[in-house]
């Protein structure tokens, strides 16, 4: 299940296509900027109160997309959002985002093993490559695995930890080297491709923040998933659009 405001962006102004397959790509209009017809709301039902800080909008959009009501994206209706100004606030926000996704995932998909790989290499203005590979298999319990560069990065980290255990110098060197170079590569790619930066924002800080936020999101989703019986390893930070 990919929540999907970024596809809205790709489509531009107009009706948002509703996917037939509830497991796959879903539209998302965040509640900070969404208008709903009262009649539609009465039919679809109100927000899910389980979602305390986030996720209720995704849930509502999915339910709405299942009915005959149309969803419309209007990019000219602009709202400016003030982001959190403290690191703690930001971490909490991302942890919160992760926290409620598994719940919605469980609510709207059948039991399956879902592995999603999505790589999107974009430059400003137009995207060169966009791959979604999605695998959904029937499975005794919910399992969601969203493969992104972030995971690839951490495979190397785990590898080097293993190397410490088995005391292999070469493996440790290789693992750490790969980890660092991946880090540099992925964050550098995102950094240099997107940005209109202010001067005091440094790349190292940028990539560090990015990394930490990814962890916050993954951990949030993982722990929340465990509580309701889903193994969820996901991160959506990496697949977001650029520029």
């Amino acid at each position: 299940m990919i929540s999907n405001i970024l596809l809205n962006k790709g489509y531009g102004k107009g009706y948002v296509p509703k996917s037939d397959d509830s497991a796959m790509i879903q539209p998302l209009f965040p509640t900070a900027n969404a208008a709903i017809r009262k009649a539609a709301l009465d039919e679809v039902g109100f927000f899910d109160t389980v979602c305390k800080t986030s996720g209720e909008d995704l849930d509502l959009c999915i339910r709405m997309a299942k009915t005959k009501w149309e969803l419309f994206f209007e990019p000219s209706a602009i709202v400016n959002h003030k982001h959190r100004t403290t690191l703690f606030g930001l971490l909490k926000q991302w942890y919160g985002y992760g926290n409620y996704h598994p719940h919605i995932f469980k609510k709207h998909t059948p039991r399956c093993l879902e592995i999603i790989y999505r790589s999107r290499n974009s430059m400003r203005g137009w995207s060169v490559l966009r791959i979604y590979r999605i695998l959904g298999l029937p499975f005794p319990f919910h399992f969601l695995f969203f493969v992104t560069p972030f995971h690839i990065l951490n495979v190397f980290l785990i590898l080097s930890l293993l190397a410490i255990l088995i005391k292999s110098h070469w493996l440790l060197m290789a693992g750490l080297g790969a980890w660092i170079s991946c880090w540099l590569y992925f964050s550098g790619k995102a950094f240099f491709q997107n940005v209109i930066l202010k001067r005091n924002a440094r790349w190292i800080i940028y990539s560090l923040l990015r990394y930490i936020l990814n962890w916050a999101y993954v951990l949030g989703a993982f722990f929340a998933g465990l509580k309701i019986g889903i193994i969820s390893l996901e991160v959506t930070r990496e697949e977001t659009p650029s520029g």
Partner: protein, 702 residues
């Protein structure tokens, strides 16, 4: 993915200023064509394949125009055509350059019949082009059996082409849809100018030119004075690879082209009683079997269903049906999947009848893909917007139908039934203006747009009405000036507006304000034109001596939606203040603002109360923590037809609510509208900087 490669290459060309176009693209294009032909050759039913590199033929600029493949099959059997189209469709999946609608499949007999019988085909359809500059890629040349075109037809054909370039140019680049790319603007100047030159040369010298450069050079030789200078400027522009600073403004080119075309028309006397009338009165009986394949399969079926329904159920009421994949009223090309139906009934239908009709049609198609307009003949004609800046000339009669036909022919759509009829004499005011029409306008306003399930759908007042209004005034002015010594013909609505001051019966103080609103409407800016509707109708009735006793229920139809904005908040009084201030500044003020206090401990309540005199605030306290609970409470307390969710840490742009509301008014099947969320650019901490720098961090990404 389909056209991505093509688009990338085009982008590349535009961005890198590498002009004229690359050989690479031509090579790529040729290679792709070879692959297609090799594959299609295997099909035994195919008699011939023609390639039409449409307006780019002979030019070095290859990529920015489309290609057309015409495949001619041996028998007229639809199944064969489907098969061939299927092959092509499969190919187009792998070859990005091919677009599905760039191919036509025709049977031999069909070609012959169309070619011989119809003027319309002669002028607009592919076969003439096949004949003239199509390239036979495979098979025997079927078209060789036809005679050469007469000179007159040939000239008309060239001018017809020209008018199309023009229509697009004017529509898109003079009427508010200006492209940001200066290079593209220059290219358009170049294209339009050189096309005009082409037409000029071929008229004066009776010689055909396909090459734009050559046309420019020839024209520069033959012209004199200001025109020559203009052409030379454009020529220099083309030579410099479009890099020099813009020597021409769009309006400059526009004025120039108008003059050029006038000269061209003078050179060609027979054009003056041009064949517009002839075209429009030409009747074509189309069977569904003969529908072009350029329309996608689904749409074809859908259209068949709708038209069959119309024929069956509304045989007596409907005069003709036009189908176009181009949304004329909004000047937008629709997606490939969408179609647009214009239905012209014999007489004005009542609102109930239209609604019933829409309901019946609605059952047979999804509202998302079918746009339907119900028009009277008069309305259809006046639909041509009376734009500021457009002019009326003999060659380019801006009759609505003419533009429709142009689009129909070039946007690969199909005419079903007969085309519209209209009377040239309608230019006389009396014929043009009927009591019936005006009544209809004042009762139901002008256009009723498809998915009607309740009245709120009606856009009011539509731009078309305003165009109609100015046109009516213009006709009145013309009539008045006919009696005076000096005849002044206003060309744009602005001129009309100014002229009205001089005539006592038309002089009204609000006219100028109304015109300002009209311009805003044309540019897509929110306006208050509805305030003038009643006055406009009254004025029309006055100047055309119409009975004032007609329906007074205009106001009953105006139904606005009530908007409730719901803001859940928790201990953020300061930020909430800013959010509320941005709501106060909206161009469309919300009817109600519900502030749900999620058990805050600060002065949230005071802040909310503070805005009471500026907004219709409703303060609700919700003890249970959680945004969704708070929002649900908000929904329960909201009284509007539309609930808008907003956050306390957001600041809305001025026209935010206006844009959110618009889709709901347009289509009652829309349940939810979402907008864009951007990051606030304020000075802040490192984290804040990070957030802004990282454009990835949109709130929506979860």
């Amino acid at each position: 993915m389909q056209l991505m490669l093509k688009r990338i290459i085009q982008n590349f060309v535009v961005k890198t200023n590498y002009w004229p176009f690359t050989r690479f693209y031509q090579a790529y294009y040729t290679l792709m064509l070879k692959i297609i032909i090799r594959r299609l050759k295997k099909h035994p039913e195919i008699a011939a394949i023609y390639l039409i590199a449409s307006s780019a033929a002979g030019d070095s600029i290859y990529g920015l125009s489309d290609i057309d493949l015409i495949i001619i099959v041996k028998d007229n059997n639809p199944e064969t055509k489907w098969k061939v189209a299927g092959v092509y469709k499969k190919l187009s999946r792998f070859i990005p350059i091919l677009k599905y609608d760039e191919m036509g499949v025709y049977g031999i007999e069909e070609v012959r019949r169309c070619y011989r019988q119809t003027d319309l085909y002669l002028k607009y359809k592919f076969f003439t082009e096949c004949k003239k500059r199509g390239k036979l890629l495979y098979g025997s040349d079927i078209l060789s059996e036809f005679n050469e075109l007469a000179d007159i037809q040939r000239n008309e054909f060239i001018l017809g082409q020209l008018a199309f370039t023009w229509a697009i140019f004017l529509k898109n680049f003079l009427n508010g849809h200006k492209t940001d790319n200066p290079l593209l603007q220059k290219y358009l100047c170049y294209k339009v100018t050189s096309d005009t030159c082409k037409a000029f040369i071929s008229t004066v010298n009776n010689q055909e030119l396909f090459n734009r450069k050559e046309a420019l050079e020839r024209a520069a030789e033959q012209l004199d004075g200001a025109r020559k200078r203009h052409v030379e400027k454009i020529r220099a522009l083309a030579k410099s690879g479009f890099t020099m600073p813009a020597p021409t403004l769009l309006s400059d080119t526009y004025a120039f082209c108008v003059r050029m075309i006038e000269t061209t028309v003078e050179q060609m006397p027979h054009i003056r009683e041009s064949s517009v009338e002839k075209q429009i009165h030409t009747r074509i009986d189309f069977d569904f079997e003969n529908l072009d394949f350029i329309v996608s399969d689904d749409n074809r079926r859908k259209m068949q269903a709708v038209v069959a329904l119309v024929r069956e159920k509304y045989r007596e009421e409907v005069r003709s049906v036009l189908v176009s994949p181009f949304d004329l009223l909004h000047n937008d090309p629709l997606d490939e999947e969408n179609i647009c139906l214009f239905i012209v009934p014999q007489r004005p239908l009542s609102l109930e009848a239209i609604m019933e009709f829409n309901a019946v049609i609605g059952e047979n198609s999804s509202p998302q893909q079918l746009y339907l307009y119900m028009l009277t003949t008069d309305m259809a004609i006046s639909l041509n917007r009376f734009d500021p800046g457009l002019i009326h000339s003999a060659l380019f009669p801006l009759e609505w139908m003419d533009v429709v036909l142009l689009y129909l022919s070039n946007r690969s759509s199909v005419l079903l039934g007969q085309p519209l009829e209209y009377d040239k004499t309608r230019k006389l005011v009396k014929n043009y203006f009927s009591q019936e029409l005006l009544d209809w306008v004042s009762q139901h306003e002008k256009i009723v747009r498809k998915p009607i399930s309740d009245q709120e759908l009606i856009r009011w007042p539509a731009i078309e009405f305003q165009g109609f209004f100015w046109h009516a005034l213009r006709l009145k002015l013309l009539e008045a000036s006919r009696n005076s010594e000096r005849m002044f013909i206003p060309l744009s609505s602005k001129q009309v507006c100014r002229q009205c001051r001089k005539l006592t019966e038309l002089n009204s103080p609000w006219l100028e304000e109304f015109h300002e609103e009209y311009e805003k409407d044309l540019n897509g800016v929110p306006s208050h034109s509805e305030a003038y509707f009643m006055q406009a109708i009254a004025l029309l009735k006055k100047i055309y001596n119409l009975d004032a006793g007609a329906s007074q229920q205009d106001t009953a139809i105006i139904k606005r939606l009530r908007i409730s904005v719901i803001i859940p908040t928790f201990n953020r009084a300061e930020i909430l203040k800013e959010a509320l201030s941005s709501l106060v500044l909206q161009t469309r003020i919300p009817d109600e603002v519900v502030i749900v206090d999620n058990n805050s401990s600060d002065n949230t309540k005071e802040v909310a109360e503070g805005f009471k005199h500026r907004l219709n605030i409703r303060y609700v306290l919700e003890r249970t923590q959680g945004t969704s609970t708070a929002r649900n409470t908000g929904i329960r307390n909201a009284s509007g037809d539309i609930v808008v969710f907003f956050d306390d840490d957001c600041v809305a742009e001025k026209e935010w609510l206006h844009y959110l509301e618009a889709p709901f008014l347009r289509d009652p099947s829309i349940g939810m509208v979402g907008g864009e969320i951007l990051a606030c650019r304020v000075k802040g901490t490192l984290v804040e900087d990070y957030c802004i720098a990282d454009a990835l961090l949109r709130v929506g990404m979860r």
